[in-house]
C-alpha cells in the first residue's frame, strides 16, 4: 500500500536500463561541464541538445517537463532576478528601478548562472525519474559504499510515507473517540498529545523492529554479500563513463587554458 517517497517512474527505456552509476556519472559530468566550460552558451546548449533529448530517450519527457516548469523554472527565475538586480558589474545601464541598476553585463551574468542552476537541477530530476533509489543504493553498496549509509537513505525514503499513513490512522482513531480536530484553534491545540503520543511511540517501536529484522538477515556481517537483484554493468556502461570522464577533463582544461 505505502508508496515510496521517490520520483522514480517505472518504464522501460535505454536510460532506465543504464547502470545507475553510469547515470550518476552522466549527471555529474553534465553539471561539471555546465559550470566549467568557458563558452557562454554551454549550459543552454546542454539543456537543448543533451538533457531534453535524454528525457525523451528515457520516455519521461512529460513528467520531466512538468517538474521543470513547475519546480525548477520558478526557482531559476528568482535566481535570475536577484542576480540581475544585485550584481554590481558593468557600466551600460539599460534599466533603472529606484536604486537598482540593470546592466547588460549583469543581465548576461545572471542569465548564465540561472541556466547553470537549471541544468544542474534538471539533470538530477532526470536521474531521479529514471533511477529507482534502491537500485542505485544496491549498486553503490556493491561497489563499496557502506551498507549503513545506504540504509539511512533508503529507510528515510520509506519511513516518511509510512509515518504519514500512520498519522492518518491515528487521527481517525482519535476522532472516533470524540476528539475534536476540526473546530477552534484552542481545542485543536489540546488535541495534539493524543495524536503525537501514539505516532512517536509507534515509530520508535518500528525502528527497533526494523533493526532486529535486518540484523536477523546478517546486516552487520563482515562476509561478502550477494545480491538478489543483479544490476547489469555492461561494457557500454564502462565506455560511456570513460567518455564522460574525458569530457569533464576537456571542459576543465579548456576553462584553465582559455581564462
Amino acid at each position: 500500500m505505502h508508496e515510496r517517497l521517490s520520483f522514480h517512474i517505472k518504464r522501460d527505456s535505454l536510460i532506465h536500463r543504464l547502470n545507475p552509476l553510469t547515470k550518476l556519472a552522466l549527471v555529474l559530468a553534465l553539471v561539471v561541464v555546465a559550470f566549467t566550460a568557458p563558452w557562454y552558451w554551454t549550459p543552454h546548449i546542454l539543456l537543448l541538445l543533451a538533457i531534453i533529448p535524454l528525457s525523451m530517450l528515457g520516455r519521461v519527457f512529460p513528467e520531466f517537463f512538468k517538474t521543470a516548469t513547475r519546480l525548477i523554472l520558478p526557482a531559476a527565475t528568482f535566481l535570475f532576478l536577484m542576480q540581475a538586480f544585485f550584481q554590481p558589474i558593468g557600466e551600460d545601464v539599460i534599466f533603472k528601478f529606484y536604486f537598482l541598476d540593470i546592466t547588460q553585463e549583469s543581465l548576461m551574468f545572471a542569465f548564465r548562472n540561472a541556466m547553470r542552476v537549471f541544468v544542474m537541477v534538471s539533470t538530477f530530476t532526470l536521474f531521479l525519474l529514471t533511477t529507482h533509489p534502491s537500485e542505485l543504493m544496491s549498486d553503490l553498496t556493491r561497489r563499496g559504499l557502506p551498507g549503513q549509509f545506504a540504509y539511512v537513505i533508503i529507510s528515510t525514503l520509506q519511513i516518511l510515507p509510512q509515518m504519514q499513513a500512520k498519522a492518518q490512522t491515528i487521527i481517525a482513531a482519535q476522532r472516533s473517540r470524540g476528539l475534536d480536530t476540526e473546530s477552534t484553534f484552542l481545542k485543536r491545540a489540546g488535541s495534539v498529545l493524543p495524536l503525537v503520543g501514539p505516532l512517536v511511540f509507534g515509530s520508535l517501536v518500528e525502528v527497533e523492529e526494523r533493526a532486529i529484522a535486518i540484523e536477523a538477515r546478517g546486516f552487520t556481517s563482515k562476509h561478502a554479500k550477494t545480491s538478489l537483484h543483479e544490476i547489469p554493468d555492461l561494457a557500454s556502461d564502462k565506455f560511456i563513463r570513460w567518455v564522460l570522464l574525458a569530457l569533464v577533463i576537456l571542459s576543465i582544461a579548456a576553462n584553465l587554458w582559455l581564462s
Binding site: 490512522t169 481517525a172 482513531a173 473517540r177 476540526e182 493524543p194
Partner: protein, 265 residues
C-alpha cells in the same frame, strides 16, 4: 439505533472503487458480523458509519443523523469504533485516564464518566490495572484497553474491526463475553472478522461482502450454509458446518451443540 445505508458508493483518491452500491438496514440491537476477503470493502463500509469516510453517492443514516451533515466528533456519541491496532489509539499514562478519554470528550457528567469507566473496566477484566501504563501491558491486554475505552463511551452502536486477530483462545472468549454483555444492554454490535468460528458462535446476522457489494446477507445459519457462494469471497464456513453438510445433516449447524443435536435426531 437504526443504521440505514442507501445505495452507497465510495471511491478512494487512488481511483479504487471500494464500494459499489451497498444498501443495508441494521436494526437497533442487532449483532452483525461482516466477512469477506481482503479488499472486499469491509473496513471502508464501517468507516462510513461514524463519518470517517464520506459517501461519493448514496447516504448513511445513523438514527436521524445523516453522516454527511454530522461531524465525526459528534457521531462518536452514537457510534463507537474499536480500531484494529490498539497502538494507534492509546496514548495516556495509565489505563484509567485512557478509558475515560472518550466519555470525557462526549461531555458526560463526572459521576456518569466514573460509572461508565468502572463498568467498562470490569467488563474487560481490567479493574485491577487502572494505574498501569497501557504500554506495560501485553498486546493482548492493550487490545482490551482499547475495547474498554470505546465501551466506556456508552454508544448505542459499537463497531469492532477484527477484534480476535492475534488473540489466544482465552482472550477470544473474553471478547465474546464483552459482545454478549453489550447485546444484553440492547446495543448494536457490528464486527469485521476473518475468524469464522468466532463469527458463527457470536453473531445472529452475517453479511458477506465481495468486491464492494453485498454477496450474502441473512442469519448466520443461512449465510454459512452457502459454502459455494461464500467461496467466491474466500470464506470457508466453520469446519463443523462443513462436516455437517458432508454427513448430510438436514439443517446447517453452527456450533458443537447444534451439531450433536442434529446428529442425534
Amino acid at each position: 439505533m437504526k443504521i440505514e445505508i442507501t445505495n452507497l458508493h465510495f471511491t478512494y483518491p487512488t481511483g479504487l472503487e471500494a464500494l459499489k452500491g451497498i444498501s443495508l438496514t441494521i436494526e437497533s440491537g442487532e449483532q452483525v458480523a461482516i466477512v469477506g476477503q481482503n479488499g472486499a470493502g469491509k473496513t471502508t463500509l464501517v468507516r462510513h458509519f461514524n463519518g470517517l469516510l464520506q459517501p461519493a453517492s448514496g447516504s448513511v443514516l445513523i438514527g436521524d443523523w445523516d453522516t454527511k451533515k454530522t461531524s465525526v466528533a459528534k457521531l462518536a456519541s452514537r457510534v463507537g469504533y474499536v480500531f484494529q491496532n490498539p497502538d494507534e489509539q492509546l496514548f495516556s499514562r495509565d489505563v484509567l485516564t485512557e478509558v475515560a478519554f472518550g466519555p470525557r470528550n462526549l461531555g458526560y457528567s463526572k459521576e456518569k464518566i466514573d460509572e461508565l469507566v468502572k463498568r467498562a473496566l470490569s467488563l474487560t477484566e481490567l479493574s485491577n490495572q487502572t494505574e498501569t501504563n497501557p504500554y506495560d501491558l501485553s498486546p493482548t491486554w492493550r487490545k482490551m484497553v482499547a475495547l474498554a475505552s470505546i465501551i466506556a463511551m456508552d454508544t448505542p452502536i459499537v463497531i469492532f474491526d477484527e477484534p480476535t486477530t492475534g488473540q489466544d483462545a482465552v482472550n477470544v472468549a473474553r471478547i465474546a463475553n464483552v459482545i454478549a454483555e453489550l447485546r444484553k444492554e440492547g446495543k448494536t454490535v457490528i464486527t469485521i472478522t476473518h475468524d469464522i468460528d468466532f463469527c458463527a458462535e457470536n453473531f445472529e446476522r452475517v453479511i458477506a461482502l465481495f468486491k464492494g457489494q453485498v454477496l450474502l446477507d441473512g442469519s448466520a445459519r443461512e449465510v454459512l450454509g452457502q459454502e459455494e457462494v461464500l467461496a467466491q469471497t474466500y470464506v470457508d464456513p466453520p469446519q463443523l458446518t462443513r462436516l455437517g453438510k458432508r454427513l448430510g445433516l438436514k439443517e446447517t449447524v453452527r456450533n458443537q451443540e447444534e451439531f450433536l443435536k442434529a446428529l442425534e435426531s
